[in-house]
Symmetry: C2
Subunit: 421 residues, 2 copies
Amino acid sequence: MGLVVQKFGGSSVATAEKYRRVARRIAWKKRQGNDVVVVVSAPGDMTDDLIERARSITDRPSAREMDVLLATGEQISIALLTMALHELGVDAVSLTGPQAGFQTDDHHRAARIVNIDTARIRRELAAGRVVIVAGFQGMDDHGDITTLGRGGSDASAIALAAYLSADQCQIFTDVDGVYSADPRIVPTARRLDEISYDEVLELAAAGAQVMQLRSVELAKQYGVEFEVLSSLAPLPDEGGEERGTKVVAKLSPNNHRIVSGVAVDSKVAHITLLGLPDRPGVAYRAFKALGDARINLDMIVQSAGTGCGNGPTADISFTCARDDLETALEVCNRLLPEFPGARVVYDTDVAKVSIVGSGVASNYGVAARMFEALAEKDINIELITGSEIKISCLVRASRAMEAVRAVHDKFELGDVAPIVQ
Amino acid sequence: MGLVVQKFGGSSVATAEKYRRVARRIAWKKRQGNDVVVVVSAPGDMTDDLIERARSITDRPSAREMDVLLATGEQISIALLTMALHELGVDAVSLTGPQAGFQTDDHHRAARIVNIDTARIRRELAAGRVVIVAGFQGMDDHGDITTLGRGGSDASAIALAAYLSADQCQIFTDVDGVYSADPRIVPTARRLDEISYDEVLELAAAGAQVMQLRSVELAKQYGVEFEVLSSLAPLPDEGGEERGTKVVAKLSPNNHRIVSGVAVDSKVAHITLLGLPDRPGVAYRAFKALGDARINLDMIVQSAGTGCGNGPTADISFTCARDDLETALEVCNRLLPEFPGARVVYDTDVAKVSIVGSGVASNYGVAARMFEALAEKDINIELITGSEIKISCLVRASRAMEAVRAVHDKFELGDVAPIVQ
């Protein structure tokens, strides 16, 4: 018993039948004696439909008006879900983002929550009602409707859990938690009972299809622990259990492990600047120019080059999102005239394989074990980078899936007991 | 030059092309040097679509949640219309009903406007913007979304014109004004340049497909004069003229006439209670019971009956909407046992033909002239009733269209000069 915030995404409410199913899940939680606040997204592909309507009018819609338009998706959803609860005999009331007290800055389409005035929600809870809140939206100081950008409904739920000091925050999605690897790649991948914010953040950055980074960052910032659960799982009132992954600040002692998961990112490009002069300021010059072009660099490695008689040279390698490749090459080619003899090469036939775990840095031999796994399969490593809780290797794209499975096996992350630190 | 309130209904904004067309009409008005506030309805059949979504969840949706749901239709419309104006280079901003300051009572689905706080609208106008307001909606004292019920967007526009003391209020619809008769029935029917509130109200009550009664009543109450115009008419920036019907408190001197229009209502039923005892209280008894069943009675006539030896009797005839016939008959049949010898007969093969005009009561012979027109065509009159500005005759349904044309001709309402009083 306590105060529970639940969040249901668009795929959970794509049809009338799905609204009814979500309503039953909520009703069950309420019947357990909880106060329940639900954050819901726009139904199914409504947001795409609304964007299409805008596109039929203009190619460059104003951000403010897009927010007015897009906010209707969640408003439709809260009304329908509330009706579905009424149909089950559950007292419930819908609130738009502004009605629920979400105050944001005025960055339309990517607003940040600055405060939640929870008075109305608390009043409705005190009256015994389930409160259904439109995710993704709020109101700025001018009284204008704002939306929070991608993954905004998760952010709404997590912020609400923080402002309400909720006892539980459940994010229902179409998967039942965070896995040790993508089960489509590694059939033995295991659902993790628990994972830390930092691990989730690194996994997402490493290419795992987990949650929106921003929501996890927000949860970390607010100190809100939440669960990721599947809205497709059997209903509790039909004997289903609530099983998912808890995302927490610090793993509980019985969940400590060296490596939590393996991820792969195939949408990367590898760029190398060859034969740069080996003197201070050259790397700065290159990375400043790339940064100014708003390109996020990921793996960065500098090595002694093979300059032939023109004094010492250095090679600089980095990876970026494949979508940024074209822009990155333009920036590099503009730089080259400053460095006679230098040239740029690139490769898109690569993928990044990463291991993530709180025990990576504090355990000897973790990197070696990863390299061993790859060597055993005769997979060449082209770049290596590491952080406190992550080690990434760039490999041939054609060998990436094999690499993920080999590493997953080597660290025994599958259906066997995890390695306790 | 001045402050203009324009209103565009759902059929005016059914497609992207129509939004663009409406935007050009607005842009032209703004270019003439006016401050422009626009009230817009939900696009095309969106409201029906939303109702269908609710129906797929529940047969008895809560009125409050229906308002949350339905208000999204107009919100989508304001965003799209504002984008279409931006596309034309016109500075514009959208406001939902609550943002525009519409304060209503809490009668969900049929709320009444109690105040409009026009501060935000005036601020946007002062900044040179066209203001696009969602019709049909407002917010009650609890901060809940309300809708105004059928014809609500017209009511929004008229109330806004009143609160803003607008110089002009234009209601754009799919007809270009109020006609002396339905042009589909009377090809020579003439568009009226001007008509009074009372005439429009009586015409609508008489079955003419003009405006929603409530909006005209509101205009009369606020003293807002408005124009009915066609959004299908050629655009002003393509040489089109703004021609419609002005709805005013009092006709201007050069528009005075005895009869303004002829209307027909084919959806009526005629019920007669035969052989009622001719004593005080009997009519009251009958009409009280019908009133309690919420049946609106229209033409009511009492005449001496043909009682056969059971003392004096009376017959009471009345008409009601055909949709109410079944209920009305049930009420009558429940009453009969109180009045031995009485019986009830009904007829649905009837139609009501009415003439409406400010000069009806103050001119001798108007009724006679109407009857003459019908007699000339050998059309039998089954019931007659009259009011200050209206005379109605019940005729056979099969003769109704002929009757309308005969009366329209007799009063020379067609493409010839009107009869000046």
